[in-house]
């Protein structure tokens, strides 16, 4: 299986696909920059029109960058989890990492803390939940993916109970903040905050990409991977920490946005094959572009209708992602 994968992936193919996805991501960002509820031209913004400048560079661009970073974090972390646990269902949500991160962020909201501390709390929540789930799932020193997923599901339920508990004791205003966190919400943020997020996400992304060839070996089973010289325990620890860092920062910034972490890596696997050296970076880039486009739709689709409202971005990600996933899956089944 490994030989087959290697024969498919040449460095030229790796470069072409990733360069293509990067170009697509840049095109999506540029497209989203032109799309909005208000008329504002880039030229006017750059030639000193204050209104156009504020619309594009204070409101639109930070939001787009936020969507790109969150999409990249969720999709590449999802791809890594799927590899690590050898389970198609693994994603930050189902594993309970998002739930743990959300609990951390919600507790910080309840304590009246600001964004940086919320992120740290979310990261802490993600790491603690990852460790807890991993230790329980790994109880007999043999990692059973099914046990792990089941633990994740239960852990999630526990986290959500605590979140709802916090939600019932905070003030009305904080309850709204928590509701937005649970719905998934992308709002413009300051460039300083975005820089912190970028540091977490791009750092984690680089770590996952660096580990990606070892993930291929892990796909053959722990024992086989170990026999080929992979320090399995260390690899797991590194990937879990990197992924938790990304997911924690993403949840603190935008709350729980569903579907990206599960569906994007699957869609990319169907399009580019299962080699993680390609799959991990490709998922990250595609996830970023997907969330940028989904958020552009969420903020503009209903703005000029009688509803005059923005949609939660999770509505778009699931409404577009689910059918796309089905179509690709069906096509793959037909060719087999």
């Amino acid at each position: 299986m490994e030989i087959e994968m290697r024969s498919h992936l040449t460095s030229r193919r790796w470069i072409w696909i990733n360069a293509g996805l990067l170009a697509f991501l840049i095109a999506s960002i540029a497209f989203a920059l032109f799309l909005g509820s208000e008329e504002a031209s880039l030229r006017a913004a750059l030639s000193g029109d204050e209104r156009a400048y504020a619309i594009i560079f204070v409101s639109r661009l930070p939001r787009i960058l936020l969507a790109a970073l969150v999409g990249m974090a969720l999709a590449s972390a999802g791809g890594a989890f799927q590899a690590l646990l050898r389970n198609q269902l693994a994603d930050p949500f189902i594993l309970g990492v998002s739930g743990g991160a959300a609990l951390g962020a919600v507790a910080a909201v309840g304590a009246g803390l600001g964004f940086t501390l919320q992120s740290i709390a979310a990261f802490g929540g993600a790491i603690v939940s990852m460790l807890a789930i991993f230790n329980i799932g790994n109880a007999r020193r043999r990692l059973s993916p099914t046990t792990l997923l089941l633990t994740g599901v239960i852990f999630n339920a526990f986290c959500f109970a605590l979140i709802l508990f916090v939600n019932s004791i905070v003030t009305m205003e904080e309850a709204y903040q928590i509701l937005f966190l649970l719905m998934g919400n992308i709002e413009p943020m300051g460039m300083g905050t975005i820089a912190v997020l970028a540091l977490c996400v791009l750092g984690g992304f680089a770590m996952l990409c660096a580990c990606s060839w070892r993930m291929n070996l892990l796909a053959m089973g722990d024992a086989d991977a170990a026999s080929m010289g992979v320090n399995v325990a260390r690899l797991r620890a590194v990937v879990f920490i990197a992924a938790s860092l990304m997911v924690g920062a993403a949840v603190a910034a935008s709350g729980l946005i569903g579907f990206v972490g599960l569906a994007v890596p699957h869609i990319m696997r169907l399009l580019t094959g299962a080699d993680h050296r390609l799959l991990v970076p490709a998922s990250g880039l595609a996830g970023a572009a997907f969330l940028v486009l989904a958020d552009a739709a969420a903020r503009t689709l209903l703005m000029h209708t009688g509803y005059a409202t923005e949609l939660p971005v999770g509505v778009i990600t699931a409404m577009v992602g689910a059918p796309l996933f089905m179509i690709l899956l069906r096509r793959q089944q037909k060719t087999i």
């Binding site: 509820s37 208000e38 204070v58 009305m172 903040q177 937005f180 709002e187 300051g190 005059a308 409202t309």
Partner: protein, 278 residues
């Protein structure tokens, strides 16, 4: 000598005019409101034609031109607001999302935030809003009018036999107006005591059991899903051990009337008329 004095006086007057001009010119011409009661206040101050953006839930008086929708209940649409080029954005501590407010400020807009939690805060905020809009005397007058009408209500209904009431803001779960809220303050003017005053939070979510324990004489039902003509099931329906239910003193009214703002006296007059008859 006198020429020097004259020119000095002239210079002083010129300077005074020069310094007061920007203040006068700065009175905001384009206003965005992020809360229905702020919108009501701006209209009541007679400055409604300056509103360029309001929330989805704001309404304009009959005949007035409707401004653009620029926010929902808690979330301002930053891009649209910037696009409206407002001179000022007025929000509330209760409704306005912090992150979006920060984004508006980063965009160079002037954003003013006022509290509306209690009736006292609401009256202060009305006055402060009129000041930032460059019409402080109108604000004082409006506040005086509201307070005058509230005092008249107190005179008329203050010596009625005191009754316990609960104000229901929401169903599933049942949410009441608790202590330290503007409804808790407001119903006192028509001789009602808030039966939920002893709870520890502003908007307690309660169960039927607690409602039975409060045993209110009157239930003021402001829960949002009132559809005229439809007899909707309420948790207290048929619970005769609650005095208000037993005596048929459940009064359903439109929550939009009871905003923390200039509409309050009007709403209270209507509520009092429903309770005591005319």
């Amino acid at each position: 000598m006198s020429t020097i004095m004259k020119s000095f006086r002239l210079a002083t007057i010129t300077l005074l005019i020069a310094f007061s001009l920007p203040v006068w010119a700065e009175a905001p011409r384009r206003i965005v409101s992020l809360k229905p009661s702020i919108t009501d206040t701006v209209y009541a101050l007679g400055l409604g034609e300056r509103l360029v953006g309001v929330t989805k839930y704001c309404d304009a008086p009959d005949g007035a031109k409707k401004p653009e929708i620029a926010a929902d209940y808690t979330r301002p649409y930053t891009e649209r607001i910037i696009g409206l080029r407002p001179d000022i954005v007025i929000g509330s501590e209760e409704n306005s999302s912090r992150r979006s407010i920060d984004a508006l400020r980063r965009a160079g807009l002037s954003v003013e935030i006022f509290p509306f939690t209690t009736l006292g805060e609401t009256l202060d905020s009305i006055e402060k809003i009129s000041a930032v809009l460059g019409a402080p005397e109108r604000g004082k007058k409006l506040r005086g009018e509201i307070e005058g009408r509230l005092d008249a209500l107190k005179k008329r209904y203050g010596d009625k036999k005191p009754a316990n009431a609960v104000v229901v803001w929401g169903l599933k779960p049942t949410i009441l107006a608790g202590p330290g809220t503007f409804m808790d303050d407001a119903i006192a003017y028509i001789g009602l005591t808030n039966a939920a005053r002893g709870t520890s939070v502003r908007y307690p979510k309660i169960g039927l059991e607690q409602l039975i324990a409060f045993d209110p004489d009157i239930i003021v039902d402001l829960s949002m899903d009132i559809k005229p003509g439809s007899a909707q099931e309420r948790p207290w329906s048929n619970v005769d051990s609650i005095k208000a239910v037993r005596e048929g003193r459940v009064i359903a009214m439109d929550p939009g009337m009871f905003r923390a703002g200039p509409r309050m006296p009007n709403a209270l007059e209507k509520l009092a008329a429903r309770i005591y008859g005319n």
